[in-house]
């Protein structure tokens, strides 16, 4: 495979990746269907912003956001059936069970653990030890700007954590199971080792004081943009959308079996962060995964960082029967 040069890198040399917006697929079908899948994303985004901006205080609450989020995801699941991006990514019963198991872990046991060692606890400990107060100036900014900052600052941190995971072996071991998914569906973002889910959820938002409405607006950005990261729906996203925001097309390149492709598009919501640091590749891929598309079992996903970590440790620091130290590299297939 020849691949395509993007900056200093050749993308698609190991596995097919379509590079360039002009080359990716478009929504097929009648004018109504085309219009729907062209305008759906921006319409929902602006509708959600308007809703959270103007909703009275009695409605603008976290519980409303949770209900909206669940309802929206159910609707997106239905869209996957109506207009799949690839038939080979169609959601099966087994995939749904697997995905929901990891979603369930996030809502239960991980949340419980997070209450004791999560970023909220860490931020509070730092604030207490330095006798810091929250940065109150934040609340004086316009609401939409506050929301943008909350979303952007979190995504900026997430970008570097994610990039770190692809560049440092111990972190990669936690993230690797997520790269064994062979298709994108709406709940696939939750599929991964719990240690990774914990790490990627760390943020510094707790240092800032902001209006609750701004947090809800930032949540709306996450819902109306971030949700499309792992989704099997073909959209004709507008040009400005693709320039600013991460899309399922961008993220499929990140999940592709192509080594250089997988080292692209690290951000969660704001693809402009990747553009800033030269890691953005505009394109899409259908063949996803690691080791030629080996699907990891739930059990292996849960234990992989520990079993592979132990193997690596033994290889680095163990001794063979001649008493010689083994200094070979790690055995896990590196996308780091």
């Amino acid at each position: 495979m020849d691949g395509v040069r993007v900056g200093n890198r050749i993308i698609g040399a190991d596995s097919p990746v379509t590079v360039g917006w002009e080359n990716i697929g478009r929504v097929q079908g009648g004018p109504v269907k085309q219009a729907f899948f062209t305008w759906f994303q921006p319409t929902v985004l602006f509708a959600l912003i308007a809703f959270w901006y103007y909703a009275p205080d009695s409605i603008a609450k976290a519980s409303t956001a949770i209900m909206l989020g669940v309802g929206f995801r159910l609707f997106l699941l239905a869209l996957e059936w109506v207009n799949p991006r690839y038939d080979s990514w169609k959601l099966t019963w087994k995939e749904l069970v697997t995905d929901l198991f990891f979603v369930g872990l996030g809502y239960t046991i991980l949340r419980l653990v997070d209450g004791y060692i999560g970023d909220g606890v860490m931020v509070e400990a730092v604030q207490n030890s330095f006798d810091w107060d929250k940065f109150a100036w934040f609340t004086g900014l316009p609401l939409l700007f506050q929301a943008f900052l909350i979303s952007f600052i979190f995504d900026f941190g997430q970008y570097w954590m994610h990039r770190g995971m692809h560049n440092w072996h111990p972190l990669w071991l936690t993230h690797a199971p997520h790269h064994y998914i062979t298709q994108l569906n709406i709940n696939k973002g939750a599929v991964g080792n719990p240690v990774e889910l914990f790490l990627i959820g760390l943020g510094i938002g707790g240092f800032f004081d902001f209006l609750p409405r701004a947090a809800l607006l930032a949540g709306a950005l996450g819902l109306a943009v971030g949700s499309y990261q792992h989704i099997n729906v073909r959209f004709n996203s507008p040009r400005w959308w693709r320039f600013l925001f991460n899309t399922t097309e961008h993220h499929s390149v990140h999940h592709s079996r192509d080594f250089q492709g997988s080292r692209s598009n690290y951000s969660g919501t704001w693809i402009i962060i990747d553009r800033m640091f030269g890691t953005c590749v505009d394109g899409e891929a259908e063949l996803l995964g690691m080791e030629g598309g080996r699907r990891m079992t739930i059990r292996e996903t849960l234990v992989y960082p520990f079993t592979e970590g132990w193997k690596t440790f033994k290889e680095r620091f163990g001794r063979d029967r001649y008493g010689k130290g083994l200094m070979d590299g790690p055995t896990a297939e590196p996308a780091e």
């Binding site: 099966t92 087994k94 069970v97 046991i109 419980l112």
Partner: protein
């Protein structure tokens, strides 16, 4: 214990009639492509085919199965394919509600064990008061005022708080109930997996029967 009483949980058994005059050889010829998948091994004898699978890709039509046996029985009235397939994911989905119920119980237990002391409660109240004081000082930016966004909620007055407490007591709600992590999400997921198991057990049974029937008919 005889596993036959419970192994329907992870076994799918059934039968599909062969087309008229179809031999065992011809039937297996048609079914065999299903077993030419990655990490799938199969052995074929004259009238049986056994297989094992691992790391099944979602794109594999038999991805929920990890092993099984297909047997062809010829009778004067015509041949029939009988199959007995095992599925780890069916068993997993059957057990998942129990796992999530235990997470729910764990959340309850943590709430009991890690009950805040009087000191911690006082500290939390103090923090809440400080937060409310800070909230009272918050003002909308002039741009937002101009665009008509609702003002941030002001902290409740003592009279309002007392009124709410009295209403909650009248409804029989206990203030203590709010303490500790909530077990509700765990119970919701236990329900989801119980429903998913029922759907999967029926759906996958039908899907595999249809798959075999179509292959045998060559459609």
């Amino acid at each position: 214990m005889n596993l036959r009483f419970i192994d329907w949980i992870w076994h799918i058994r059934g039968s599909v009639p062969l087309a008229a005059g179809q031999s065992s050889e011809q039937a297996f010829e048609r079914l065999e492509p299903l077993f030419r998948e990655r990490d799938t091994h199969h052995v074929r004898n004259s009238d049986t085919l056994t297989f094992e699978k691992s790391n099944q890709a979602p794109q594999d039509k038999m991805s929920i199965f990890d092993g099984g046996e297909l047997r062809i029985e010829q009778a004067p009235s015509g041949g029939v394919l009988r199959y007995d397939l095992t599925s780890k994911i069916l068993l997993f989905c059957f057990l998942a509600p129990f796992l999530f119920l235990s997470f729910g119980q764990l959340a309850v237990a943590v709430g009991v064990i890690d009950k805040p002391t009087a000191e911690e409660k006082a500290e939390a109240k103090k923090k809440e008061a400080e937060e409310e004081k800070r909230a009272a000082e918050r003002k909308l930016h002039p741009i937002d005022q101009f665009l008509g966004a609702p003002e941030p909620e002001k902290p409740k007055t003592e009279a309002e708080k007392k009124k709410e407490e009295a209403e909650a007591k009248a409804k029989g709600e206990d203030e203590e109930e709010d303490e500790g992590p909530s077990p509700t999400p765990a119970y919701v997921f236990a329900g989801i997996f119980a429903a998913l198991y029922l759907v999967g057990r029926v759906l996958e049974d039908r899907l595999v029967k249809r798959l075999f029937a179509r292959r045998l008919q060559g459609t």
